[in-house]
């Protein structure tokens, strides 16, 4: 059993990223889309940590950035859910297809 290297981490994060993209593009439910965004952000987090660990082991920049991303993701989720709830109150739907008022 060989060592787990940077390539393995990057493969996982890439898979996670594209799963997130796929989910964001195909799901019509806004909550699911929000979850997909979380997946994309987490793919970024894995990248940060992996690069930090393998390329600059004696620094902590990547870890700090990960903490920031998690904080921002939490804030973003709160705002997004607030928007979704308001949308639901107005339209009785959280389908992304129905939320096209911004066009006009």
């Amino acid at each position: 059993m060989s060592d787990i290297g940077l390539g393995h981490f990057l493969i996982v994060s890439t898979m996670l990223f594209f799963i997130g993209i796929y989910g964001f593009m195909t799901r019509r439910n806004m909550i699911t889309m929000l979850m997909s965004v979380e997946l994309i952000l987490n793919a970024c987090n894995i990248n940060f940590i992996a690069f930090n660990k393998f390329l600059f082991p004696n620094q902590l920049d990547g870890v700090f950035f990960t903490l920031f991303v998690i904080a921002i993701a939490a804030a973003e989720a709160a705002v997004a859910i607030a928007i979704i709830i308001n949308l639901y109150r107005n339209r009785k739907s959280i389908d992304a297809e129905d939320a096209d008022m911004m066009r006009l």
Binding site: F24, A96, M101
Partner: protein, 653 residues
Amino acid sequence: MSDSLALLLVPALPLAAFLLIFLVGRVYFPKFSGILGTVIMLATTVISMATAYKYFFVTGKVDGVYQHLIAFKFTWLPFSENVSIDMGAIMDPISMVMICVVTFISLMVHIYSLGYMKGEDRFAIYYSYLGLFTFSMLGLVLSTNIFQIYIFWELVGVSSFLLIGYYFDKPSAVAASKKAFIVTRFADAGFLIGILVLSYYTGTLDFETMIARLTVPGSELTAITTAGFLGVSALTWGLMLVFMGGAGKSAMFPLHIWLPDAMEGPTPVSALIHAATMVVAGVYLVARLFPIFAISCPVGLDVVAYIGVFSSMFAAIIACTQTDIKRVLAYSTMSQIGYMMFALGVAGYGGENGLGFTASFFHLFTHAMFKALLFLGAGAVIHYVHSNDMRDMGGLRKHMPVTHIAFLIACLAIAGVPGFAGFFSKEEILTAAHNSNPIIYWCAIATAALTAFYMFRLYFNIFWNKEYHAHHSDSHHGDDHHHGEAPWSMKAPLIILALLSIATGYIPFGNFVSSDGQALHSEFHLTSAILPVSLAIGAIIVAMLFYRKKNAVPDKIAGTIKGVYTGALHKFYIDELYLFVTKKLIFGIGGTIAAWFDKNVVDGVVNFSATVGENFSDTLKKMQNGKVQSYAMYFFTGVLGFVLLFVFLWDKF
């Protein structure tokens, strides 16, 4: 008063009258404007007469030769060191004669109009326009610079346009003013090109320098005569184009068509502008450049002569058939200007050869008197009868005796009956023609006979023929005919001009105006006068037989020469020809092509770009559908594009 001040005042006073009446007078003292304009005109006349007197008898002559003096000149638009447009005043015999004629006739018309135009709505405007015209005409004759003359030339054209269109609520007057403006503008385009050609080769716009450079052999003269276009030298082209401008203003064939229509203006205006002063501007222009014509370009002078004599005869034939009295006079004017033109055309430079030059100006002078008189007389008749048509007139000699006598004197003068002014000037022209060119001489003799015939046809039709009965029905105000012949303001100019139509003939004109400034003593040959005088008297007798009593002879004669008669009655279809050329050929064929080009090519390009823009924006509009996921798709595609770009292609740049 010094000459420069006087010659500054001469054009400036009418300009002041124009500005004063136009800006202030028409609002605050419309009734008084006429008197004001007349008084200012009187002052101008006195000043110009005094200046001319001083020039001719005191200062002008040095060693028996009249000098070209520059009274004042200032540079207005300098182009380069030697080429500039100046504003100035020249003093030489022809300009002095012209300012006298212009101011005097203008004064007469100012006085006459006090009566004739009384009660018109735009009385003050009328007087302001008269002031504008007089200013422009005086500026024109005093020009020292060919470009200055062009500027005033256009100003004269504008005032003519304004005055022809004075009755702007009458469609025919509007059409006539437009026609006059367009035809003369067309000619002036040639004039401008001519100026450019001449000034390009001579390197100057100044008359004296230009004449000096083009008459004395030198590099400029060699350059302009060797340069050519279509086998004609640049000098001839330049002079012919300048003459084209002159022919347009002077209503020479084939640019004469505006003059008869210009009679739509008020009659005193016709007398001032379209008979006595403005239309002789072309003659004046040729005379101004006469040394160049005579010494360097005799071909050009021949063209002037033939166009003059042809116009003269052409107009005389048409005048025999017209029934509108003002149109008869218009054609007669054209005919007489043709006389002046060919008199210049047959003249040479200096000495006895210059007889035609003197004769031309002599005729210009006498013609101004009797033609103004004829128009003012016709105006009085129209004032009385309320019609322009000679068929509505007849037997007026008892109703308007003063007009009758004055008109008769003018007719005798223009017919060339001995003792009257026209006789002397016409005799001189005929002698000049006889000495140089037999074709022109015989044409001129024939024209003289025709002139006598149509003038007396007019005279007998107005004052004899049938008895006059006032048509109360076609007059709006029935008591109009009780106003008598005419007010004194109208009669006085008639009487003055009638006296001058006799007296001016006795002026020894050769002493004052000649081609080279030296006095010319023209001998009077009794033998050469016999033929034209007997022809003129014969023509008068024929006219008397035809028209004194109403009879069937004229119609019978007209019937036998039906072709010529109908042709002349329709002015030889020149108007129709021009309409055909402009409407059918230029606007018809050229217009169709232009319209096709406009509709298909120009509009096509515009419509095409609009369609492309519309389709493109439709596509863009569909992209913005409000669906957040498609936006994410575009975004992601873009990012992917950039990634591919940076990863695979970046190095290659």
